[in-house]
Amino acid sequence: MNNLSTYLIISALLFSLGLQGILLRRNLIGMLISVELLLNAANLNFMAFNRFLNADPVAGQVIALFVMGLAAAEAAIGLSIILALFRTMHSINIERAQKLRG
C-alpha cells in the first residue's frame, strides 16, 4: 500500500475527474470546482514524489503550499469574474456566453 504508484494512480484518477468536470459541466461554478480538483491532483503528485524520491522533505511541501495559495487567488478572481458575468447575463451557464463565436 505504501508505494509510489498507488499515490500516482489516485492522483491520476483525481485529475481525470477534474478534467471531465471542466469539460462537461455547463455551470461555471462547477467548472471552478473542477479546476480545484486538477490543482489538488497536482499537489498530491508533488507530495508523493517528494516523499518517495527526494531526500529533502521541504521542497515539495513548499510548492504544495504555493499551489494552495495560488488556488485561493484563482478562486477569488474566478468567482468575481463569474459574479460580473452573472450581473450582465443573469446566468452562469457557459452556453449563454458565446459572444465571440466566429
Binding site: 478534467l19 471542466i22 469539460l23 462537461l24 455547463r26 457557459i94 452556453e95 456566453a97 458565446q98 459572444k99 465571440l100 463565436r101 466566429g102
Partner: protein, 645 residues
C-alpha cells in the same frame, strides 16, 4: 585670411559678388516688416557690387586673366574645383550686370512704391543679382551650372511675383519648366564632357579646344547638349515662348531679366566657352540655324502685338537670336558686343515702358497714346533713343553692334545668313517704330480725360512723394539713355580689350578675320545695314506715323498670317497639345494606373487575403469555451503521447 585681406582683387570679387546675397538674407530674415529699410539695404549692397565690379574692370584692364581656385572635393581621379576666373569677358559682363542691376533696383524704389511685397521684391532682386554675378565669375562649368540654376530660380520667383494672379504663377511655372528642359541637355553635356575630358575648368577646356586636343565626336555631342542649355535660357527657337510670358512680373524685373541677367546668361555661357564651341563646326552650324530661325520668328510675332512689353519681349528674343547667330558664325567679339549694347538699350526700353505703364495702368500702346503718353517728355525721349538704338540707327550703340554682327554674317560662305540678318533688321525697325508712332502720334490726337482734375488734386496732395517716385524712375532711365548714346563709340577699345587680352581667344578661328572687316571693308555693308533700318522706320511711318495713315499695318490685309504671327506660330498650342497628348495622356495616365492598379491593388490584395484567410478559419471560434479546452487537452495529450513513444 591674411592673404584674403591682402589681395584687393580677391576681396573685391568675393565682396562684390556676395554682398547681394547677404542683403537678401538680411531682408528676408530680419527687416522684412520694414520695407524702407529693406530697400535701402538691398540697394546699398547692389551699389557696392557695382562699384566692386567697375573697380575690378579698371584694375585688371588689359592684364592677363586672373584665376583663383581651391579644391572643392575630389572623387577618384576627378577633381572638382571652385574658384573665380576673371578675364576680359567675365569682367565686362560683371560690370554690365552690376551696373544694370543697380539701376534697376534704384528704379524699383519708385516703381514698386507701396507694393505689399516691397521687401520680398528687393530680396529676390538681390538673389537674382547675386546668382548672376557669381555665374559670371565662375571658374568651372559645374560652378557656372550651379549659379545658372540659381538665376533660373530667382527669375521664377520674380516672374511669379504677383503669385495671387493666375497668369503670373503660370508664367513663372512655364519659364521654370522650359528652362529645365534645356538644362537637362546642358547637364547631360557636362557629364559627357566630364567623362570624356576629365575636367570642367573653363580655362583648361578652352585651351584644350584651341590645341585641338579633343576628339571631334566628344566635342560635337557635348557641344550640342550644352547648347540645349543656351536654347532654354536664352529662349531660342523651340523653347522661346516662356520669355514673352515672363513679362507677367513687375516691369523692372522684365528690364533686368531681358537685358543683363537670365537671358543674357545663355549667350554669355556660349561666349564663355566659345573656343570649345568653335572647335565643332557641326554644333556651330546647328546654332547658326537655330539663331536665325529664332530671330525671324520672334520678329514676326512682334509686328502684330499691341502690348507694349510684349513687343520688347519678342524683340529681346530676336536680338538674342542675332547674338547666337553672330557667335555661331564665329564672331566672338560681335556677339559679345551686341550682348553688351543690347543689355543697355533693352533695359532702357523696358524701364521707359515701365514709366508709361505705371502712369496709365495699361500695357496697350494705343490707349497709352490716346491718353497722352507723349506728354511724359523724359520717358518719351528715352524710349525713342532706345528704339533708335534697337533699329540700328547711327550714332546709337545698336548701330555699331548690329554692323559688327552683319559683318560676321557677311563673312559666311552662304549669303542666306546675311539676307536673314538684314530682313531681321528691317522687321526690328518696323515694329519698334510702330510702337513709337502709336504713342507719339496717336490717332485723332490726345483724348482729354475727365478725371484729369481729380488726378491733379491727387497730384497736389502727394506732389512731393510723386516727385520722388518719378525721379527714382527717371534718373536710371536718363543714365541708360546716356550709356546707349555713348557706348557705340567705345567699340574699338572694347574689341581690343576682349579680343587681344583674352589669351584663350582661338587663333584658328575666323573671328579675327571678321574683326578686320568691321574696321575697313564694310562700307557697302554699312550702307545696307543703315538702309535696312531706315526702310523699316519709313515703312512704319508710312503706315502709322504720317497724317491719314490707316494704322492697320500691311499684315492686316492677310488675316491668316496675322493670326499665325499673333498666336506665336502656334508654338504654344503645339506645346499644349503635345503636353496633353504625351504627358497628361501618356505618362500621367501610366503613373495613375500604376498607383491605382499596382500600389493600391497590391495593398488591397494583402488585406483581402488576410481577411478571407481569417474567415476560412473562423469556424474554430465556436464561442464555446469547453470545446476549446477539449481541443487543448487533446493537443497536449497528443504531444505527451508523441514524446513518450
Amino acid at each position: 585670411m591674411g592673404a584674403f585681406l591682402g589681395d584687393p582683387i580677391l576681396l573685391a570679387t568675393v565682396l562684390g559678388t556676395n554682398l547681394p546675397f547677404i542683403s537678401m538674407a538680411a531682408v528676408l530674415l530680419f527687416t522684412a516688416p520694414n520695407p524702407a529699410l529693406s530697400s535701402k539695404i538691398s540697394v546699398a549692397a547692389i551699389a557696392a557690387g557695382a562699384v566692386c565690379s567697375i573697380f575690378l574692370l579698371a584694375v585688371l584692364h588689359g592684364g592677363s586673366p586672373v584665376v583663383y581656385r581651391t579644391l572643392w572635393f575630389n572623387s577618384g581621379n576627378l577633381d572638382i574645383s571652385f574658384g573665380y576666373y576673371l578675364d576680359s569677358l567675365s569682367l565686362l559682363m560683371l560690370a554690365i550686370v552690376g551696373v544694370i542691376a543697380c539701376l534697376v533696383q534704384i528704379y524699383s524704389l519708385g516703381y514698386m512704391a507701396g507694393d505689399p511685397g516691397y521687401s520680398r521684391y528687393f530680396a529676390f532682386q538681390s538673389l537674382f543679382a547675386w546668382a548672376m554675378m557669381n555665374m559670371v565669375v565662375a571658374g568651372s562649368l559645374i560652378q557656372l551650372f550651379i549659379f545658372w540654376e540659381m538665376v533660373g530660380l530667382a527669375s521664377y520667383f520674380l516672374i511669379g511675383f504677383y503669385y495671387e494672379k493666375w497668369s503670373a504663377s503660370q508664367a513663372g511655372k512655364k519659364a521654370f519648366v522650359m528652362n529645365r528642359v534645356g538644362d537637362v541637355g546642358f547637364f547631360l553635356g557636362l557629364i559627357w564632357l566630364l567623362i570624356g575630358f576629365g575636367s570642367l575648368g573653363i580655362p583648361e577646356l578652352n585651351h584644350a579646344a584651341d590645341a585641338n586636343a579633343l576628339p571631334q565626336g566628344l566635342l560635337t555631342v557635348s557641344a550640342l547638349l550644352i547648347f540645349c542649355g543656351v536654347v532654354g535660357k536664352s529662349a531660342q527657337f523651340p523653347l522661346l515662348t516662356w520669355l514673352p510670358d515672363a513679362m507677367e512680373g513687375p516691369t523692372p524685373v522684365s528690364a533686368l531679366l531681358h537685358s543683363a541677367t537670365m537671358v543674357a546668361a545663355g549667350v554669355y555661357m556660349f561666349g564663355r566657352i566659345f573656343p570649345f564651341f568653335a572647335a565643332s563646326p557641326d554644333a556651330m552650324a546647328v546654332a547658326l540655324a537655330i539663331g536665325t530661325v529664332t530671330m525671324l520668328l520672334s520678329s514676326t510675332m512682334a509686328m502684330v502685338t499691341y502690348d507694349l512689353k510684349q513687343v520688347w519681349a519678342y524683340s529681346t528674343v530676336s536680338q538674342l537670336g542675332m547674338m547666337v547667330m553672330a557667335l555661331a558664325a564665329g564672331g566672338y567679339f560681335a556677339g559679345v558686343f551686341h550682348l553688351t549694347t543690347h543689355a543697355g538699350f533693352k533695359a532702357l526700353l523696358f524701364l521707359c515702358s515701365g514709366i508709361f505703364i505705371h502712369q496709365f495702368h495699361t500695357n496697350d500702346m494705343r490707349i497709352i497714346g490716346k491718353q497722352g503718353g507723349r506728354r511724359l517728355v523724359i520717358p518719351m525721349a528715352c524710349i525713342a533713343v532706345g528704339a533708335l538704338a534697337l533699329s540700328g540707327v547711327f550714332p546709337f550703340s545698336g548701330f555699331f553692334s548690329k554692323e559688327a554682327v552683319l559683318a560676321v554674317l557677311a563673312a559666311q560662305p552662304s549669303r542666306i545668313w546675311l539676307a536673314a540678318g538684314l530682313l531681321g533688321a528691317v522687321m526690328t525697325a518696323y515694329y519698334s517704330f510702330r510702337l513709337i508712332f502709336h504713342i507719339l502720334l496717336p490717332r485723332g490726337g490726345i483724348e482729354e480725360k475727365r478725371h484729369d482734375a481729380h488726378a491733379h488734386r491727387y497730384h497736389e496732395h502727394e506732389g512731393e512723394r510723386r516727385g520722388y517716385i518719378f525721379w527714382a524712375m527717371a534718373i536710371p532711365v536718363i543714365v541708360l539713355a546716356g550709356v546707349t548714346l555713348a557706348l557705340g563709340f567705345f567699340e574699338h577699345p572694347i574689341e581690343h580689350f576682349l579680343v587681344n587680352s583674352n589669351t584663350v581667344q582661338p587663333a584658328l578661328h575666323p573671328a579675327h578675320g571678321t574683326g578686320a572687316q568691321v574696321d575697313g571693308g564694310g562700307a557697302p555693308l554699312t550702307i545696307m545695314g543703315i538702309s535696312a533700318g531706315l526702310f523699316g522706320i519709313l515703312l512704319a511711318w508710312f503706315e502709322y506715323g504720317r497724317k491719314g495713315a490707316d494704322r492697320k499695318g500691311f499684315l492686316s490685309y492677310f488675316p491668316a498670317i496675322w493670326k499665325l504671327f499673333d498666336s506665336r506660330w502656334f508654338l504654344d498650342a503645339f506645346y499644349r497639345r503635345s503636353l496633353d497628348l504625351f504627358v497628361y495622356g501618356g505618362l500621367t495616365n501610366l503613373f495613375t494606373r500604376n498607383d491605382r492598379r499596382v500600389i493600391d491593388g497590391g495593398i488591397d490584395g494583402i488585406c483581402f487575403f488576410t481577411e478571407s484567410g481569417g474567415r476560412l478559419f473562423s469556424f474554430l471560434q465556436s464561442g464555446m469555451l469547453q470545446y476549446n479546452l477539449l481541443l487543448m487537452v487533446l493537443a497536449v495529450g497528443g504531444a505527451v503521447l508523441y514524446l513518450l513513444m
